[in-house]
């Protein structure tokens, strides 16, 4: 087989997390597993941080694996959405300023959430949440409290943590701001796991039209939580708007979503999708 056509048919994974955000595995481990799974390219897309990219680029040289610098942005919207920035210039000063601000807000709010819980008589240490859930966040704290029956139900949890959620939403960029920032640092903007937003078909199609009007470039079709039916619908909407497809495992390591895409899967993301993205970036220059 010619090298080019082999490359084109190679498998990629364009949505992966490491311990730089809420993943369980270090960057080096994620890169190593990706190489073992015979992936051709992976995008490291940690939540609101690019701190793992440099290490990923260094580690990937050992395996001849292509790293696509990425980040998964938290975006204020109804509902709260995630937008992936792929091929971003991870050293861009404005990007790093934005991410530092969001990280700082996240740290402050996680601490506030623990404080609220403690002031309501529930004595819990972050280490307990970390040992049980693998990472410490407002979400994992909420899950821990419910799973260990320290709270009666989700309503009680929301009543404790609603002020934290509201403050969090206020710290985040709008979809327009996020897409503009991704483009400013030469990246492509992709809506992540669209079918997890809990929208009906009409609402989701409207969302895609709106985000496209702000410059959204692509939609994540392949995702572990997307059914075949979901993929078909997303493909139709994406095609009609002239955007590209993306896909990935949303890998979080053992204990989270722990199956990376590989050449053994039915759902695969071919390297040709990456080539299409690169062609799109090339046209922009």
């Amino acid at each position: 087989m010619m090298k080019d056509s082999y490359h084109r048919n190679g498998i990629v994974d364009l949505h992966m997390h490491t311990s730089e955000s809420d993943g369980r595995d270090s960057v080096a481990t994620v890169v190593k597993i990706a190489a073992k799974n015979k992936l051709f390219a992976i995008a490291i897309t940690d939540h609101d941080t690019v701190s793992g990219i440099e290490t990923a680029l260094i580690e990937a040289k050992k395996y001849n694996l292509e790293i696509i610098p990425g980040v998964e942005f938290s975006v204020s919207y109804k509902p709260h959405i995630h937008i992936l920035g792929l091929f971003v210039d991870y050293q861009d000063a404005e990007l790093n300023r934005h991410l530092k601000k969001v990280t700082s807000s996240r740290m402050r709010l996680v601490t506030k959430a623990f404080r609220i819980v403690r002031n309501n008589g529930i004595d819990i240490l972050p280490q307990q949440v970390k040992d049980d859930k693998g990472y410490v966040s407002v979400e994992s704290l909420g899950e821990y409290l419910l799973e260990h029956q320290l709270l009666k139900n989700k309503q009680e949890m929301d009543s404790y943590l609603c002020s934290v959620w509201d403050e969090w939403k206020n710290c985040l960029p709008s979809a327009q701001e996020c897409i503009a920032l991704i483009h400013k640092c030469n990246g492509l903007a992709v809506l992540a796991h669209a079918k997890l937003l809990g929208l009906n078909d009409y609402e989701l199609e409207s969302l895609l039209v709106e985000l496209h009007s702000y410059g959204l470039d692509g939609v994540e079709q392949i995702h572990p939580k997307h059914s075949e039916e979901d993929v078909k619908k997303l493909k139709n909407w994406t095609d009609s708007l002239g955007m590209f497809y993306s896909g990935g495992s949303d890998y979080h390591g053992k204990g989270g979503r722990d199956i990376m895409l590989s050449d053994r899967d039915e759902k695969i993301v071919p390297y040709s999708w990456v080539e299409r993205m690169k062609a799109m970036l090339g046209k922009r220059i």
């Binding site: 809420d22 740290m107 410490v136 966040s137």
Partner: protein, 82 residues
């Protein structure tokens, strides 16, 4: 509680947060580059719990709290305020 006791407790917490892999070998050693943001939060919450203080938003800065001595000084200043 004197500063030495506070430093000892901070070191114990730090050992748990960093899982003893990269614990600094001195109270003035800057450990900010060994810690990601979640570990930093874990450290701060553990400090709040241990010393029964609430750290102000203005002090939420990894650079301000990057060594055992800096954290101990902060704890002492909060204890004095109370």
């Amino acid at each position: 509680m004197d500063k030495r006791d506070i430093c000892e407790k901070v070191n114990t917490i730090l050992g748990k947060v960093l899982e003893d892999i990269s614990v600094p070998d001195g109270n003035d050693v800057d450990f900010s580059d060994r810690m990601n943001s979640i570990e930093f939060v874990t450290l701060l919450i553990s400090i709040e719990n241990e010393f029964d203080i609430e750290i102000d938003d203005d002090d939420f800065d990894m650079e301000k709290l990057s060594s055992v001595n800096k954290i101990a000084d902060l704890v002492i200043s909060y204890k004095e305020k109370n």
